[in-house]
Symmetry: C2
Subunit: 154 residues, 2 copies
């Protein structure tokens, strides 16, 4: 069997995947998620509970099914997340008079305050993280991602 020389430059070894937007997206996201977890950890929140809480604050009265749809997660998996938020007194599941199957989700005052603080912190840290891009580039990146989601995700 022939001798083999192992490449020494492992840093640029993923070249064949460099042409795929999906791959670039995945690698970029993992950097953002690491930063996000760190920041939200200070508030006792995970990314998904932060998202859930933020939406409940913005759209009080949402039902669990609506929230699960908004987050694109399964209703069953949302239960644990809401138990967590509710257990900390950040949200309540209010009864809906017209339909007793549904829960209207509402943030408590404490939940609103925490959501506000966490959003500010995330915004600050995202700004720092993306400071290697110009403000125009940051805006364009978000615009392109959002446009793509709007068109391709239909």
């Amino acid at each position: 069997m022939a001798e083999v020389e192992t490449p020494s430059d492992a840093g640029q070894v993923d070249t064949p995947l460099a042409e795929f937007i999906g791959y670039a997206m995945k690698r970029a996201l993992s950097i953002v998620q690491a930063d996000l977890s760190r920041v939200l950890g200070g508030f006792g929140l995970r990314a998904v509970s932060f998202s859930a809480l933020s939406i409940v604050v913005a759209q009080p009265g949402l039902t669990q099914t609506q929230l699960a749809d908004a987050l694109q997660i399964e209703r069953s998996n949302l239960v644990t997340i809401l138990d967590e938020l509710s257990g900390r007194g950040l949200i309540i599941r209010a009864p809906v008079a017209q339909d007793r199957r549904r829960h209207a989700l509402m943030a408590t005052a404490e939940g609103q305050t925490l959501a506000q603080a966490a959003q500010t912190a995330v915004k600050t840290h995202e700004r720092a993280l993306f400071s290697c891009l110009t403000p125009e580039e940051q805006h364009e990146l978000k615009r392109l991602l959002t446009k793509f989601r709007g068109q391709a995700g239909a």
Copy 2:
């Protein structure tokens, strides 16, 4: 307790998260991943095994540690992936004469052929998926993601 009206427009309910690039990235990626899984399923590959095979084809002689680093996954988790590729005769773990602890990863002829075909298919489907963006926008999106990773991921 006051009556509650539940919002009827659940589609735009994630507004408070719309300002975060990370959130836009996550939602965009999940669309790409769904498409990718579908395409790669036809080749009996998952995203991670496709990535691994592609890199081995491009960089023959890589060791497992180098490949794990390139893919940013744990060495331990790479083992199963390589067992899978090796079991299908797509790659081999060749012995390295200078260091008998290491395995030099090499794609077989069949592995090279499959990688080539899968890459073409992924490229085609990614092009179709991103057709809602102009070629300039697609290029810019990839450039921004790559620049971000290069700068922020250091």
